[in-house]
Subunit: 234 residues, 2 copies
Amino acid sequence: MTEAKINKSYRDIKQIVLDRIRTRVWPPDSIMPSEVALVEEFSSTRTTVNRALRELADEGFLERRRKAGTRVLEAPLRHAKFSIPVTRDEVTGAGATYRYALIGAEVIEAPEWLMARLNLKGAQQVLHVRCMHYSDNAAFQFEERWIVIATVPSVVEATFVDMGPNEWLIREVPVTDIELSFMATCADDSLAAFLETSVGTPLFTAERITWLQDAPVTLARMHFAAGYRMTTRL
Amino acid sequence: MTEAKINKSYRDIKQIVLDRIRTRVWPPDSIMPSEVALVEEFSSTRTTVNRALRELADEGFLERRRKAGTRVLEAPLRHAKFSIPVTRDEVTGAGATYRYALIGAEVIEAPEWLMARLNLKGAQQVLHVRCMHYSDNAAFQFEERWIVIATVPSVVEATFVDMGPNEWLIREVPVTDIELSFMATCADDSLAAFLETSVGTPLFTAERITWLQDAPVTLARMHFAAGYRMTTRL
DNA sequence: TAGTGGTCTAGACCACCCG
DNA sequence: GGGTGGTCTAGACCACTAT
């Protein structure tokens, strides 16, 4: 009386396997049946069963190793997927009106801490840009960014008056690697003023470093207005 | 003089396609060649080409629609993947010694705000647990958690002396849905004391709500020690 | 060394949806 | 209507690794 006979698609198989994991038919840390066995049970093929199991492994439910078999993982370390959108899209996507404002842009010598973060060697010129993003005319995000001129020479011609540096970079510079960090920071005088809050307020901050091959492109700090939550469902 | 002839694997094809996207051979917003065309170029099969393109679509580089074809996306809204590990593993994985300490656990009536967050109806009993996680004997994380007793009746027998509530729940209760939020909070007297910092310090905080089907299981707030950064590479 | 997953081939049918 | 992607079948060879 196998529960599944008509089921053939990889989605069906995924669901059945997931149910068996949840109901402890295949308990955590145990080895579940091999692909060949499941092919037999579901009257399917290895291609299809493999796709189901591979996706479940990608999603963090299973661990697969040749010869060792497929192990059910203890903790579903389900990957949180944050799609870090362009700020404009994040605001308009919420049904609000987006407004951008450039605060300032200037070429400077890269400070010590930046050279360390970006692994820069020798003296380097960077373009330091500060700007604001508004949602329905309320402060939404203060963005501070350093762009490595050696990597993006054409950036010196950009004005960033109509378009934020992120949108400009996305259009102009391909990126191969991204390092993303989230943290809590403290509003200083400047941040408090721009984000329309009081000094000392905790702010949710994202920092993103992007690379083109081995060349650092930019480091961006995005300080969100007080009370911001970054939320996702898995 | 096609650059690729020996290449056959889906990984090779992924890399080639990615390069062409980055070098603007197939510019953003354009329609790239169909699977059949690529099968011809790479002397491959649809199964293989399809896997390459499907994965690139999953990773946010492409948008695929029947009949319309495969479109190169403007902004690589590459998904940030955070594997939210068990705190114990996060600490030991960093090479530090992990220590757990229960602060207190008591059954209470669910307060208003909690009922709203969990979509609870009517009076509900919840187990309120507070505990600390240490890394090399330094405060690492203060955890505050509310567990819905109606959903997890056996929780009243747990002591949480040797094991944190998260680890206990992972072993005992399957979960179908997770809502995860990140935010910045302000250290109050209690938090400052437990996390060995001063009142008013900004703290990185994660909030996780888990569900079993439609039944809320738990809401957890994890306050990290000052200076904590959550980092990922994409 | 043998079992298990990783991947590819060759072909097929179908669902969707743009023109 | 017809082109495109979505998926399945049936079979094969190979890479890795536990035993």
